[in-house]
Amino acid sequence: MTETRKIKLKVEDLTLIFGKRKKDALALLEKGVSKEEILKRTKCTIGVNRASFEVYEGEVFVIMGLSGSGKSTLIRCLNRLNEPTSGKVFFKDYDITRESNKELLTTRRTEMSMVFQKFGLLPHRTVLENAAFGLEIRNEPKEEREEKARIALETVGLKGYEAQYPAEMSGGMQQRIGLARALANDPEVLLMDEAFSALDPLIKSDMQDELLQIQNKVHKTIVFITHDLDEAIKIGDRIAIMKDGIVEQIGTAEEILTNPASDYVKAFVEKVDRKTIITAETLMFEKFTLVKYKKDGPKGAIRKMRTAGVDILPVEDEDMKFLGYVRLKNMLELEKKGEKSIEKDLITEVPSIYKNYTVEEMLPLITNNWYPLAVVAEETGKLIGLVTQTSLIIEATRFDKNEVSELNKQAKEI
């Protein structure tokens, strides 16, 4: 799916070095000298170290890292609040790092708006004037900009507060003004730098929900910086994890959790509540034998089970729709009775799920039966995978297979 999406921002080998001897430091960096060594030799610190990534149109791209990881420096390179030392930032087709000052002002005024951790509101202006600030900077007439600002304020739920001053409002509401100011510009890209990090946990959660709701309406391309992995997972379509100026891994939350690229990422994601993130798609196995409802009689079913070495198999009808399961012992009985159809002992009252079901949603389904969970395609009802109880329990407990069998053994002895 991602292959067909349009790339909105493309960052190539972006490096930012703080200090006076940038060129020397850059040369050393390219030779592969370590960050500490470069600091010692040139007194330069590496803010961003050859970062490359792409941001697709309409997605929420989260850059996550601890403080000092270079994430805020990186986002400021995208609109050149920080001047990158080398590398390129392509926005649509043109390279932002090569823009003249005038072109850069235009980009900032019309294409990219930013939301800040500390809000950056003007205390001497009303909420409405603050929201209209970006439009004022690009010299739009007063009536038009106030009209647009009013709409933006309504979008973020601040209707009725237009005449108040920011200092009279709570942190969450102040950040709504910041968001409205960015939205009023109607930019193609929203840059959000730790936008919710200064807020109380409950308000933060509300704002995240609200951002997702707004995003459903406006479909902006959002680059969101955070140090909070839960936040990254909640709002990010894709996440980039940064450490020491280096982008360590890029992927969906599930990709990163199930397949961490480095020990750092692994340590990071260990604390995350995986139950809400890991889906059936990750856990299911896709290679399974199917019993055809009309074609295979009890005999065929038994043969297939023996070949596969199992005592239960899923059944589909001629439209390739999932029907249920048959069990070996039932089939043997049917065969003894000379039945030609498996119809009598087809177990149809089994739960089917879609591939986006999370572990949290799947666990309750295994309490009342012991069948594998059948993952079916949403449109066709075709069986696409099976999730076994064992894999679910392994995922939920984070024990590995040996530990599980060890526990089983112990339990039997008792």
Partner: protein, 287 residues
């Protein structure tokens, strides 16, 4: 010990050269300042005392109360200053120093405005440019610590006696706080607000006029307040070179050993100082 270094002679030569080479400039400046002072003075004197009293009281009351002008809360806030302004001005008037008070006020106003015309842009420059800051700062220290009397000598030299040398010396003496507090106010504007401005594509001039100056305004107004008070403190000294007003009465009474006149005119300066201070401070303290 024998005097070996003749630094003063260099300064003297420099001042002489300035006087000789730019004599038409000084003459023009003299004409301009005298003209302004005379006209403001005549205008204020042409207004009947009761009208001026009401206007001044109104300004003072508004400075204190602002939007609460007509409310009880406003009255509670502004009543004190209002009473002081009315009683103080009545006292000045009936002691017979009204004309002198107007002359002093005029001198202070003109000097303050000139000081601000130079001081605020210099303050902006010092805030934005480090090199300028490094150069301006010691000059300001020099201007403030040099005894104010010293400025009178070149002032007479350039303009001879009258109001202009008084204004000249007063401007030099009262300029520094305008520069310093403007610069301080702009430097203290929070970085994140300026960054937000930049992120939305604001040019330097937009950042200055839409963000930095409005946010620095309270500090700049505190600077204006300081300029006014320093200018008032110069009126007696300025009267030595012929500036008219309450200062010259104080100066006369020193020469004539007249305790009564000296006290009355001195009190007059205090009244003016308190009124001007409270009014400008109230404006500065407004959000």
């Amino acid at each position: 010990m024998e005097k070996k270094i003749h630094l003063g002679q260099f300064i003297e030569k420099g001042i002489n050269a300035l006087e000789e080479n730019f004599s038409s400039f000084w003459a023009a400046l003299d004409t301009g300042v005298s003209w302004t002072v005379d006209n403001v003075n005549n205008f204020l004197l042409s207004v009947p005392f009761p009208v001026l009293l009401i206007v001044l009281a109104g300004i003072a009351y508004y400075a204190k109360t602002g939007r609460k002008f007509f409310t009880m809360g406003g009255l509670r806030k502004g009543a004190g200053l209002l009473t002081f302004v009315v009683l103080g001005l009545l006292l000045l008037y009936y002691m017979g120093y009204w004309n002198e008070a107007i002359q002093t006020t005029t001198l202070v106003m003109v000097a303050t405005i000139i000081a601000l015309i130079f001081g605020i842009p210099l303050g902006i420059l010092a805030a934005k440019n480090h090199t300028a800051d490094v150069i301006i700062r010691p000059i300001l220290d020099f201007m403030q610590t040099m005894p104010a009397f010293v400025y009178l000598i070149p002032a007479i030299f350039f303009f001879s006696v009258g109001n202009t040398p008084g204004v000249f010396a007063t401007v030099i003496f009262s300029l520094p706080p305008a520069v310093r507090l403007t610069s301080l106010g702009i430097k203290n504007v929070q970085k994140d607000v300026i960054e937000a401005g930049r992120a939305f594509g604001a040019k330097d001039s937009q950042i200055l006029f839409k963000i930095q100056l409005p946010l620095a305004l309270p500090t700049i107004l505190a600077g204006v307040n300081q300029v006014i008070l320093l200018a008032l403190s110069m009126v007696v000294i300025a009267s030595m070179v012929g500036a008219r007003g309450l200062g010259s009465i104080v100066y006369q009474s020193i020469q004539q050993n007249d305790i009564a006149k000296g006290f009355e005119s001195g009190l007059g300066i205090v009244i003016l100082a308190i009124i001007l201070d409270r009014i400008t401070q109230s404006f500065a303290n407004k959000k």
